[in-house]
């Protein structure tokens, strides 16, 4: 699965980074970088937790490869 980010929605809350720092990183200005957008089945539940934690619903897990 892949991580999709809607950067128009992202405000830099950083909750994704709190939940899954292996996949998400914010710089000092709150700009989000997805470190790896390819999610293996074993990481899927973990990344889904980060998606659920996003306050502005800017993250999605999709099946598009």
């Amino acid at each position: 699965m892949r991580i999709e980010v809607d950067l128009n929605r992202c405000e830099g809350h950083g909750m994704c980074e709190v939940v899954a720092p292996e996949f998400f990183a914010l710089d000092d200005e709150g700009k989000l970088t997805v470190l790896t957008d390819d999610v293996t089945p074993s990481d899927e539940a973990h990344v889904r937790d980060a998606v659920l934690a996003c306050p502005v619903a800017a993250l999605k897990l999709s099946n598009n490869r």
Binding site: E11, G12, H13, L26, D49, L52, A53, P55, A57
Partner: protein
Amino acid sequence: MTTSTSSDQFFNPLNPEHIADPDELMQASRKGCPVGQVSDVLYVANTDAVVRQVFDDTEHFSNRGNFSVGAEDVQWPFTPVTNEDPPQHTALRARLLKDFAPARLRRLTPRVAAIVHDCLSALPLSGRVDLYAEYAHFIPARVLYALIGIPEGAWRAVQRQADVIVATVPEPTHTLPEFIALTAYLGQLVEQRRNNPGERHEDVLDNLSFADPGEQEMSVPEVMTHILQLVVAATDTTRALIANCLYRLLVDRDQWEAVLADRSLLPKAVEESLRSDSPAQFMVRTVIDDVTVGDCPISPGKKVYLNIQSANHDENFWGDDSRTFRVDRPNATAHLAFGRGIHTCIGAPLARIEARIAIEALLDSYPHMTLAPETRWVKCEGALTRRVRSVPVLLTGTEDQ
């Protein structure tokens, strides 16, 4: 399922008897009536799935009737950001985000720590105190006044007026003497700023007093609307978060000890407190286009009461111990206490910082404090806020104090 919930079997926000102790009724609603109608105009959404659905859907729902559970909406001279829809909402939120961008709020951490330290030094070394009235009460107001740019010498007077206004909401406040005095004072501050355009500050007053290119000039009453909205939204809720989290940690002493031993549990405890005792119990949306919430069709003009507390206790989402406070709960961050989507609480990062620093200061200075004997959970009055009425503790300082 358009189940009428006029019976006492399910949670009904219009029934004053349901407000003080709503958890059992909400559990019954989640099981038997996830979406129900409680009046001609009002529906109640009770599960994580349906509340999340409505938060994420700005096509079928408007914020204009937010907080009002009756057919009549509160009339505002200017619309606060909590009741605004796109595209006006988008511009106003972007304007406020200049002060409330999470990265900028995180840079306020030293200021928050200084304010917490002042409040901590006002506590006695030992003896009985109420950590709500004598500690948690002061911190969010002062932090917010610093962010707004209100001079420190005026904080005490402003808090006295603001507390009266906050306690009156959702009833109209504009005729209160405190409202009139506070408006006059904030108006003076705006004029002072505008008379000294060469001297700029990094605060909310400055941001709303001066329009950057592409931004809208604001009148004093308009600035006042947005500042008051911030005061109403930020103070009672964050006070509740600090008090609720302290109560839950201390009432089950093992959890206080666990956080003392491993401070990385503190942010998790704050999230778990937001989930299990959500400071803002509900939000309201107005249906603007035919929609189905869960299995329940709802037509335009009707309102939906988003039962944030019930969603955050949802057994299907959180498991069978959903009503238990557990500092080690996996992914408590997924709660809906701050709402979700374009209206998500703009002050959430600041509330989290305040709660963490306020509780950490007590862990450092009073690790041996205990909840006073026979203390029970009693919820404060009012439908919107969930806060324990008081947190009486017996203080015993550290040996080196």
